[in-house]
């Protein structure tokens, strides 16, 4: 396994399975913890912890007030930030964010924008004067492959958990008054779910790669779908070429995965909602 990792893997792939016992199309056990009691970020407005096998990602959402931009006076902001601290894997050093973290942040920003999961107009409090800014910090605690899937899932779960206090603008003073007693949940319009694949030897596609598999793979594909079966993002950053048919196969599997993930999220949300 250490001397000839690729040969070791090929032997398993020939039997259509993987060293950790999974099938080629099988996902790792996914667990999600949402909210202040289970997830333990008490200072955040919304939080979620997602474990995809060993890959652990935590997402905290903080809502702050700001003036909206001049050209879009009725829109708030959503600012995602993915961090890969040096504690999650050996290859990440401390210091400014590396390329992988920045590319992941851009990917999450694109997913939020493309899927329209939150309408920025919903974040506006007073046209041209006050709007919400949602800072979504996604931090990887343990990197074992498939960062993008876990990040998107954590983000979705955390946003579903966010409760925004009611803000009114006092007519006389012109100042904003925050009513912490009255909170409303965020309106999530779409639920995007990411599914990642690793390409081996230009032909074989395996789902939910671990860090070892990602290193040996010749390419990766990430497909983000929403509940209507629409594609929010097809992210294939280089790597081995794929035919259109193989891509279609990935999309079909992504749509199936979306249903499973949606069921899981709904179940967890229902279990934490106070009756």
């Amino acid at each position: 396994r250490t001397v000839e990792p690729l040969e070791y893997y090929r032997r398993f792939l020939k039997e259509n399975c993987r060293p950790d016992g999974r099938e080629l199309g099988e996902f790792r056990t996914t667990t999600v913890n949402i909210g202040k009691c289970l997830c333990s970020i008490t200072t955040a407005d919304g939080s979620a912890l997602v474990k995809l096998g060993n890959t652990t990602v935590i997402c905290g959402v903080k809502a702050e007030l700001a003036a909206p931009a001049v050209d879009s006076a009725n829109k708030g902001y959503i600012v995602p930030n993915v961090e890969l601290p040096s504690l999650c894997a050996e290859r990440f050093r401390s210091g400014p964010p590396g390329e992988e973290a920045q590319a992941a942040s851009q990917f999450i920003a694109d997913v939020i924008e493309n899927s329209q999961m939150i309408a920025k107009e919903d974040l506006c409090i007073a046209n041209g004067k006050l709007a919400w800014v949602l800072y979504c910090d996604i931090i990887c605690l343990d990197y074992d492959g498939n960062l993008l899937d876990a990040s998107v899932f954590a983000l979705l779960a955390a946003l579903k958990n966010v409760q925004l206090p009611l803000v009114t603008i006092n007519e006389e003073t012109g100042l904003s008054e925050v009513n912490l007693k009255q909170k409303n949940p965020l309106i999530i319009r779409k639920h995007p779910v990411a599914t990642s694949f690793a390409i081996f030897d230009d032909t074989l596609l395996i789902v939910d790669p671990t860090a070892e598999e990602e290193d040996l793979a010749t390419g990766t594909v990430t497909i983000v779908t929403d509940e209507e079966g629409r594609l929010c993002s097809v992210h294939k950053p280089g790597g081995s070429p794929l035919t259109g048919a193989k891509l279609q196969d990935c999309i079909t599997r992504a749509i199936t995965r979306h249903k499973e993930v949606k069921k899981l999220i709904d179940k967890v949300i229902k279990s934490i909602t106070p009756k």
């Binding site: 899927s115 594609l231 294939k236 280089g238 070429p241 259109g244």
Partner: protein, 147 residues
């Protein structure tokens, strides 16, 4: 910023898949792209420039590649190689890097959401358009070496 980093990652991994690095061990291949003007379809322009530069450098490549941008307009029509204005009005923008061997997809990135059928249609259109671009490569290289 993060956008440039993300573009760099896309370009780098596309080139890495194509350049036969095994033939040049312990070598660094540095590709510098300077945007002189952006009038739409920037990413596919970068991809085309990168491929032609690699060709011009004489590096061993497994396959040629070209970048094609498709814009999906609100009424459902597919527009290839959109201008900046058309990109703004479009519902979705899909950029593909198509390899010259069997027109396979090397790189794909999308902005905005679209249905699966629309994506397949755009991919088919991009693969057809790739023929034109590869012909342009051939003509340029012929012109370069014919003097």
């Amino acid at each position: 910023g993060v956008l440039e980093r993300s573009r760099e990652q896309l370009l780098r991994q596309t080139c890495e898949a194509v350049v036969l690095g095994v033939l040049h061990p312990r070598t660094a291949i540095s590709l510098v792209l300077q945007v002189l003007s952006d009038a739409g379809s920037l990413l596919s322009c970068c991809l085309n420039a990168a491929c032609m530069a690699l060709l011009d450098a004489g590096l061993p490549l497994a396959t040629l590649f070209c970048g094609v941008t498709c814009a999906l307009q609100p009424d459902g029509t597919i527009l290839l190689d959109p201008t900046a204005r058309q990109e703004q009005d479009a519902r979705a923008i899909l950029t593909f890097a198509i390899a010259s061997s069997e027109r396979k997809v090397l790189m794909a990135t999308t902005k905005g959401s679209c249905s699966v059928e629309e994506m397949q249609q755009c991919l088919a259109a991009a693969q057809r358009a790739a023929n034109t671009i590869f012909q342009f490569y051939r003509d340029s290289v012929r012109r370069r070496y014919s003097k």
